[in-house]
Structures are given as structure tokens and as C-alpha cells.
């Protein structure tokens, strides 16, 4: 476990000693703040539901850029050789990497707590349950994107290619209900379930359905599993 934390810690540190972490956080807050302002002014509702939907779009575009370097860079510079010849399992390497990206995601979302705070400060009386379930949902969704990004980063030593793969997979999961519309209602329902955005919508209404949780956890679990297998393949080429 200490080794997992060592990997995660190093990863986070390298984010925060470079301008990248701050630039990304600043741009993210700029986008989120602008959206918050626009939504609040037009709806005049003390709610964050629409904001979460919009943050999801920002994540779709931003997360691939955050995750692209995770494994691709280690392979490019050869430091993966250090990790893989140290007494540490492939699972721990992947866990450490994932933990770091989740921690950064958490940091970004903590920054956005300024929005519900603003709602209170300007005299609004927001309903808290959908805000907290919305946060849980956006966190899970971001975590799912991060996991997809990690898979992509494990597949290539080129960061750009990794970012593109991550973006395409995420986009497919986003748009997949459109495919289902050509089929009967049962199949369409199945495709609806595969949509990464639908679960965010249902959770940010304030109701936590286990099927939503299960969806995100399955995407994360499957992605991490594939990443571990893909890292394992490095031993064979």
C-alpha cells in the first residue's frame, strides 16, 4: 500500500510542480464559473443540476488531456522500466496512477464548492440533497473518464494518441443512446443504460439508484482491469 501511495504521491507532485495542474484548474474554473453564471442568470433557480450537466461536457474535453501522460510518458522516458523491475505488482502500479488522477479530480471538484456557497451567500435556499448526489455523480463520472483515459494511456507511448483514444471512447459512451434509437424499445433501453451521461442526470435529481452507481463502478472496474492487462503485456514485447 505504501508503494501505491509512493506512486500516487509522485504523480501528484509532478502535476503540481509543473504549471499544468494550475493552468488546467484555472481554465476549468473559468469555464465552470462562466457556465454557473450563465445558467443562474437565465434560470434564476438555486440549483446546480444544469451546471453538473455542463461540467460533464468540460470533463469530456479535459480529462483526456489530464490522463494522457499517466503511463504513456513513463514508457516514453523509460521510467516504466524502474517501476516494473521494482518489487511491486502491476496492479499496484495501475492503482497508484489511478489514485493520483482521482485525487486531482477531487481537488477540482472541491474548487467548485464555491458555487453552492455562492448560492447561499446571495440569499438562495438550495435543496441540498440533489447537490450532494450531483457531486457524487459528477465525481463518479469524472472517475469513469479518468479510468478510460488510463486505459488509453496504457495502450501507446504517444501522449497525443492516448488523448485521442480516451476522447473517442468517452464520446462513444456519451452518444451511444443515439445508436439504440434504430432498434426496438428493449434494445434502445439497453443502449440508454450504456450512456455515461444519463446516469448523471438521474443521480443529480437527488435520488441515488444502485443501477447508476453500478454503471459507473463497472466502467471504472472494467477500465482498470484492461489497464492492468495492458501493462502486463509490456513484459512481452
Amino acid at each position: 500500500m505504501s508503494k501505491v501511495l509512493a506512486i500516487a504521491g509522485r504523480e501528484l507532485k509532478s502535476y503540481f510542480v509543473s504549471p499544468l495542474a494550475y493552468v488546467v484548474a484555472a481554465l476549468f474554473m473559468l469555464a465552470a464559473g462562466g457556465l454557473f453564471d450563465a445558467i443562474l442568470m437565465s434560470s434564476r433557480e438555486a440549483s446546480l443540476r444544469a451546471l453538473f450537466q455542463n461540467i460533464a461536457v468540460v470533463f469530456l474535453l479535459m480529462v483526456p488531456a489530464l490522463t494522457m501522460r499517466l503511463l504513456a510518458e513513463e514508457r516514453k522516458t523509460g521510467t516504466i522500466e524502474l517501476l516494473m523491475t521494482s518489487p511491486i505488482s502491476d496492479v499496484s502500479i495501475v492503482s497508484g496512477k489511478y489514485l493520483a488522477s482521482i485525487a486531482y479530480l477531487f481537488f477540482l471538484l472541491v474548487l467548485t464548492l464555491i458555487f453552492p456557497l455562492t448560492l447561499v451567500l446571495i440569499g438562495g435556499n438550495p435543496e441540498w440533497a440533489p447537490i450532494w448526489t450531483g457531486y457524487a455523480a459528477i465525481f463518479l463520472m469524472g472517475a469513469a473518464f479518468m479510468a478510460i483515459g488510463l486505459v488509453a494511456s496504457s495502450l501507446t507511448s504517444s501522449q497525443i494518441v492516448a488523448a485521442l483514444i480516451a476522447f473517442v471512447i468517452s464520446l462513444v459512451l456519451w452518444l451511444i443512446p443515439a445508436v439504440g434509437q434504430n432498434f426496438g424499445t428493449t434494445i434502445a433501453g439497453g443502449f440508454q443504460y450504456l450512456s455515461i451521461i444519463n446516469h448523471l442526470e438521474s443521480m443529480s435529481r437527488g435520488v441515488v439508484d444502485t443501477s447508476d452507481l453500478l454503471y459507473y463502478l463497472s466502467v471504472i472496474g472494467a477500465s482498470l482491469f484492461i489497464t492492468v492487462r495492458s501493462v502486463n503485456v509490456y513484459h512481452w514485447r
Partner: protein, 306 residues
Amino acid sequence: MSFSVNKGEILGFLGPNGAGKSTTMRMITGYLAPSAGKVTVGGFDMGQDPLKAKSLIGYLPETVPLYPEMTVRDYLRFVGRLKGIPGRELNKKVDAAISRCWLTTYADRLISHLSKGYRQRCGLAQALIHDPPVLILDEPTSGLDPKQILETRDLISSLRGEHTVILSTHILPEVQNVCERVLIINQGVLVADESPEHLEAKLKGGQRIRIEAKGPLEPMQARLAAISGVKSLTASARGPEFPDTYEFSLDTDPHDEIRKELASAIVTGGWELLEIHAERMSLEEIFLKLTTQDALLEAAKEEANV
């Protein structure tokens, strides 16, 4: 290719670039899985028990695995944690590795600001940090200046006895100075497994001629040994399928061409000469490839000694 290394031994891998030295080392350290065969480190099978086997190894890869945005000290702390050094010993071990690899004045510099030589030292410190019983060093002196090369060699020599070291190089004097045993690899094949002294004798001092002949053993042997230029001679039977057929292996002076005398000795004796050839041409070729890069270093070494 099969070989084993004894505890406390310093073994050199010698071979031209692209010979398979790095690949072999990557297999020993568990980075690459062998497509056939197996690696055992300190009794642990790399395939079965990789974590135990890996914890015994310190490894300096060919491209030094550094994170440029970290300081030397942070980097070594990170590697120390990866290798499983407990927290209370970490600072002590990091300091020891820093001073052992002459990095004290650079300990708090960013790795991205270090020159190639110091990066190489940093890689060496990383390999030594957990005091591993086995050290695998892939070209530990590449990119260093002559003074640093000598220091690094001294450091490696000081590991003799307590650590088992395998190092690779394409520089011949390096193995002569440091190693007790040399493996020469060419195109993935083990060409020689010798002590440096033997190797030198083999490369410079002698030529081996192999003769296969049919006839009575003793008279043939006596006749061959009597020829001037033959330093030593061993004979072995070819086995029951080839009655009266023997294989002679002769060490001779390389400057004398005595194959003609050897051949006529057999023929005039009334025996059958089946085969005669001079051996080790491939080794000589490798040696040539190795020594072409060598002249530079020899000159540098002399300079450093002055």
C-alpha cells in the same frame, strides 16, 4: 544461452551494440518475460515469485529512469519507497546512496539541471539504494568523462564480495579492470564464458586448431605434440559410432602458420585426416568491433593516471 553467477562475483557482459546484452538484462530483472527458459534470482523464480526476486535486485537500465522534475533526494526517496525500504530507514539509506555516488553537492538540485554524468550517477544511486544483493548495471559508465569512469569502476569494485554484480559494456578494459568473469554475447548467442585473463590469452596470445583424424591415438598424439609451435594438446575420442576417430585440440602460437605441418604429420603417418580448422574467428571479429571503440578510452585513461 545459459549461465549462472555466483554470490559476490562481478560478471561482465561484453558484446557489440545490438548483441542482446540489454535484452538479457531486462529478462534477468523481470522487465521482459523470456519467451523460453527461466530466470532465478537468489532462489526465487522470476516468473513464479516476481516480487521476491525483484526485491533482491538493483537495476540500472540503459536509459537511466529519471523523473526530471524531481530533485535527486526526492527521486531517491521515491525509489526507496518503491523498493520497500521502511520509513524510518529511508533518510539514512538515501543519504548513504547520495554520498556513495558522489552526489552530495547535487542532492537538492533538480534532475533536469544535471549533466549526463551526474544523471548516470543518480541512476547508480537508485540501483544501490536498498543495498540489493544483486546489481544489474547496463552500461554503467556510458556518457561519463574519464575521471568519472574511473570513480565508477572503483565504486563497482568496492561492491565485490558483498554484492553480486552483472554489468554490461562494450568497452574491453572495463571488464579487464573490474570483472572476474566475462561473458561475450553476439547476436543473442553466448560466444565465450571466461575469466578476463583467459580471454585475453585467447584473443591475443594464441590460436586454437582443431583436428579430427582416424588412427591409433598414442602415435598420432606424439607426432602432433612434437611439432614446434604447439603449446598444448588435448585429445578426445569421437565416440563409439566413430571407431579410432579422435579430436585434437591444439593451442598454438598465432604467428606461426603450422596447419600445413600438422596436416602432413597425420598424412605421412599413414592415418586419415578428416578435418582441420582454426577456431574462434567469430570471437576475434567481436574483439575487433569492441576494440575499435577502445583506443579513445585507453588514451583518456592514461591521461587520468598522469
